[in-house]
C-alpha cells in the first residue's frame, strides 16, 4: 500500500474513532436552554451509582411521625407510639393480628418485586408495622444530575406506578365500570373471580406488550356462562378497589382458554406480576397508604456517593489508558495501533450500552474492563505469535500471516466459549447478571471484530514504514554466518 493511501485510511479511521469517542463522552450546553448529553451520560445506571427510590407503606391504623404531628390533640390519645410509628391502640401489640399480617404481606410484596428483574431491590419491615420497598432509580447520569428533568420525572413516575401496582391488596374482580360505583359482574355464588384462572404471564412480540391470563377448565365454562348471558358491554379488571388497565368485552362467548391484553410497555409486566400473584392466592391482607393514593416515592443518593458515576468513568478511563500504555511500552508503534483499537472498542461499547438501554452497575463496569482485557490479550497473543515467527527469519508480512494463522483457532475458541457463556447468562439470568451477560456478549462480538480490524490497521499503518521490525518493537533475527 502506498504512503498516500495509507495516510488517508489512517486519517479516516482515527477521525471516526475520535468523533465517536467525543460524542460518546463529552456533554456540553448547546445554548441557554438546550444541552447535548453524551452517550455515556445517557446510560441507565444501577442503584449503586445513581441511588435508589424507596416508598414506605403504612397499613390502615398506622401513621408516621409526620402524620401524627398534625393529628388533633384530642385524637392523639388513640395512638400508641412504637419507635418511629404510631399505631391505633386497639391494633397495637404482639397479640393483635396486624404485626403478623404485615410480615406476611412483606413476603408477598418481596416475591412480586423479585419477578420484576431489578438489578437490586429490597423489602424491609420497619418497626414491625411499616413495609419499606427500595428499587433502583434507573436514572441516567444526566437525569441524576438534573440536566434532563423530563427523563428523571419519567423514571420516578414509572417506579411510582410499579410500586403502586405491585402493592395492590385485595382479590381479583371483574366490574361493569371503572369508578368507585362500579359493581362486580361475577355472582357471589362463584368462589371468587381469581379461581377462574391458573396464572398470568407477560410477553412481548414485535414491539407489542401482552398480558396473558390463562383460564382453567372450570373458569372457562364459568366465564362463558356469566358473560354469554349479559348484554354487550365492557368489563374492567379490579384488584381490591383499584381498577387496573385491563378490560374485556362481554355479551359474547370467549373462544380460547387464554385472555390476551395488549397494554403499554411500562405497565404490562406489573399487571402480569400482580395478577399472577393474586390468582395464586398471594393476596395482601392489609390496605396500604389508602390503596396507594398517599404513596410518596423518594429518590435517595447512592451508597457509593453522589460522584460515584464520575469516579467510575475515571476508573474506566484509567483502565483504557493502562491498556494503551502497556501496549505502547511492549510493542512501540504497533502498541499505538492496539491503543487505537482499544479506544474504538470503548466508544463502541458505550454506544451499544446506551442504544440497547442496558443498566450499568459497578459489576457491569468490571465486565466492560474484562471485555477490554479480552481484546487486548487476544491481540497480545497474536503479536507474540508473530514475534515468534520473526525469530525464525521470516519477513514481517510473512510472520503476520503465519502468526494470525497459527493463533486463529485459539482466538476463535476463546471467543466462541465466551460468546455462548454470555448468551446463556443474558437468557437465563435476571437483573444485574442478565445485564452483565448482555454486556459480555456485545464485548465478545466487538472484541472478535476488532481483533481482525487490528490486523487491517496494522497492515495499513505499517505499509509505508521502512523498518517494520522497529515499528512493532521486535528485534530482527541476526543469522550467524556458518563460514
Amino acid at each position: 500500500m502506498g504512503k498516500v493511501k495509507s495516510a488517508i485510511i489512517t486519517a479516516l479511521v482515527v477521525a471516526a474513532v475520535l468523533i465517536l469517542s467525543l460524542f460518546a463522552t463529552i456533554s456540553c450546553p448547546l445554548n441557554e436552554v438546550e444541552r447535548y448529553n453524551s452517550f455515556i451520560s445517557s446510560i441507565h445506571m444501577g442503584s449503586d451509582l445513581t441511588g435508589e427510590a424507596y416508598a414506605l407503606f403504612y397499613p390502615e391504623g398506622v401513621i408516621s411521625q409526620a402524620d401524627y404531628n398534625v393529628v388533633a390533640d384530642d385524637e392523639k390519645e388513640e395512638y400508641t407510639q412504637h419507635l418511629s410509628v404510631y399505631v391505633e391502640s386497639d391494633k397495637y401489640g404482639p397479640e393483635k393480628d396486624l404485626l403478623g399480617s404485615v410480615a406476611k404481606d412483606a413476603e408477598i410484596i418481596s416475591a412480586r418485586f423479585a419477578q420484576k428483574g431489578y438489578s437490586k431491590y429490597s423489602v424491609s419491615v420497619v418497626d414491625g408495622y411499616v413495609i419499606k420497598v427500595s428499587v433502583p432509580t434507573n436514572f441516567t447520569y444526566s437525569a441524576f444530575k438534573g440536566y434532563d428533568a423530563t427523563s428523571r420525572s419519567d423514571e420516578l413516575t414509572k417506579i411510582g406506578n410499579t410500586i403502586k401496582y405491585l402493592t395492590l391488596s385485595g382479590t381479583l374482580d371483574l366490574k361493569n365500570g371503572q369508578d368507585d360505583t362500579a359493581k362486580s359482574i361475577i355472582p357471589v355464588s362463584y368462589d371468587g373471580f381469581e379461581t377462574f384462572f391458573s396464572g398470568a404471564k407477560y410477553y412481548a412480540v414485535g414491539g407489542n406488550h401482552v398480558v396473558q391470563i390463562n383460564l382453567n377448565d372450570d373458569g372457562y365454562k364459568n366465564l362463558n356462562n356469566i358473560i354469554g348471558n349479559l348484554s354487550d358491554g365492557t368489563g374492567y379488571f379490579f384488584i381490591g378497589e383499584t381498577c387496573i388497565g385491563l378490560q374485556m368485552s362481554y355479551g359474547e362467548n370467549i373462544t380460547g382458554k387464554t385472555l390476551n391484553f395488549q397494554v403499554g410497555e411500562a405497565s404490562a409486566k406489573d399487571y402480569s406480576i400482580v395478577l399472577d400473584s393474586v390468582i395464586n392466592g398471594n393476596e395482601l391482607t392489609n390496605k396500604y397508604n389508602d390503596n396507594g393514593a398517599n404513596t410518596e416515592v423518594i429518590a435517595i443518593t447512592p451508597s457509593f456517593g453522589e460522584s460515584a458515576v464520575v469516579w467510575l468513568f475515571v476508573l474506566l478511563l484509567l483502565a483504557l489508558i493502562g491498556a494503551v500504555a502497556i501496549s505502547v511500552v511492549k510493542y512501540k508503534k504497533l502498541g499505538l495501533v492496539n491503543g487505537l483499537i482499544a479506544v474504538a472498542f470503548s466508544a463502541a461499547m458505550i454506544t451499544a450500552i446506551m442504544l440497547i438501554g442496558i443498566q450499568l452497575t459497578v459489576a457491569g463496569a468490571f465486565i466492560l474492563v474484562l471485555g477490554l482485557a479480552l481484546l487486548t490479550f487476544s491481540n497480545f497473543c497474536v503479536f507474540e505469535a508473530v514475534r515468534k515467527e520473526t525469530l525464525t527469519g521470516r519477513t514481517i508480512q510473512a510472520s503476520v500471516k503465519m502468526g494470525y494463522k497459527k493463533s486463529l483457532t485459539s482466538i476463535l475458541d476463546l471467543h466462541i466459549v465466551i460468546l455462548v457463556v454470555a448468551a446463556m447468562l443474558a437468557l437465563i439470568c435476571t437483573g444485574e447478571l442478565a445485564a452483565c451477560g448482555l454486556i459480555l456478549l456485545i464485548a465478545t462480538i466487538a472484541s472478535y471484530a476488532l481483533h481482525w480490524f487490528t490486523r487491517f490497521m496494522w497492515f495499513v499503518i505499517s505499509s509505508p514504514v521502512k523498518d517494520k521490525f522497529k515499528f512493532c518493537g521486535y528485534k530482527r533475527e541476526v543469522l550467524d554466518d556458518e563460514d
Binding site: 418511629s84 423479585a114 474492563v369 479480552l374
Partner: protein, 339 residues
Amino acid sequence: MKTNFKLSSKMHLFIIISSAIIAIGLMVGIICQYVANGFFNYGDEYANYKSVSITYVNTDFSGKDEEPVDHIKQICENAFSNEGVKSYQVVVGDTKTGGTVIYKFINSTDGGKLENAEKAINSKFAEEVTADAIAYNYAVASNADTLLGGGNAIAMAAVAISACIVFHFIYFVIRYKLTMALGAILADLHNLALFLMIMALTRIPVGSSIATFAVITVVLTMIGTCFLFDRMRKNFKDEDLKKLTAFEIVDKTADESFIINTVMPACLATVSVVAFILLSISSLSPLTIISAVLCSFICFVSCAYGTAFFVPSVYSRFKLIGDGLKAKSRTKAAKSTKK
C-alpha cells in the same frame, strides 16, 4: 518471563492447599449457617439495620449560610458522636416539601443510644427551627428487618453457571481431548469453589453482586483454560518436543501461559484496587466499598492461582492416566490382531 516452577511435581502440595481452604471454608460456612447469619455473611443489602431518619422542610434554617441539609448533618453528627455511635451509611433524598437524611447503623448498635441521639436532634431543632414549622422537622429512630430477597435471581445464576460449565466441558470434548475437557471442568469447579469458600471463610459481607463475581470467576477461568489448553495441544503436537515427557511438556506449557493466566487477573485486581480508592473518595466511607472490592479481589486471586498453578499440575496426572489407558487399549488391540 520464564518460570521454572515444575508444577507437575507439586500436584500434592496444590491439592492440599486447595482442599484445606475449601474444607475450612465449607466448615465455617456450615457452622455459621446454624449459629450466625447464614452460610455467607449477608451484607448491607440483606442486613437488618437500625436507622435515624431526619425529615425537614427547606425553609427552616433562615439566617444560616449553608444548605439546610448540611446544617442538619452537622447537628446529627454531633448528637451521634456525643452518644458514641457511628453510622455506616448516610443517604439524602428529596421529598415533596423538603428532604430527608437517613443514617444507617449496624443492627447491634444500642437502640437506647440512638433514641437519646434522636431526642438530642429534636431538641436542637426545637431551639433553631421556627415554632410553626417544628412539626415538619423531626428525627425518628427505627429498626428495619430486611427480607432475604433475590433468591430467585441467585437460583437462576446457579443454573446459568452450571449450564456454562457443562457447555465448557462439551466444547472442550469436541474441540480438544477428553483429558483436557476434564482439566477445564476441574478448573471451573475448583476456582468457583475456592472463590465461594474464601468468601464464606473470610466472612466478607456479600450482596447480590456475589453471583456476578462468581460468574466473572468462571468466565476468567474459561479464558485462562482456553489459552492454556490450546498451548498444551500445540506443544503435544510439536515434533521438536516429542522427546520430552508428558510432565515436561505440561510444565513447559504452564510456563508459557503463566503470564497470560496471572497478568490478566492481576490487571483486573489492580482495577479493583483503583476502584476501591476512587469510590472511597466518592462515598467518603470505605466501609461501603470494601466488601465489593474484596469480593472482586478474591475472585481474581482464585482464578490466577487455580488456572496458573493448580490446573496444570493436576492435568499432568490426567494426561498420564489418559496416555496409560490409550497404551493399554493399543496393546489389547495389537494382541487381538495377533490372535
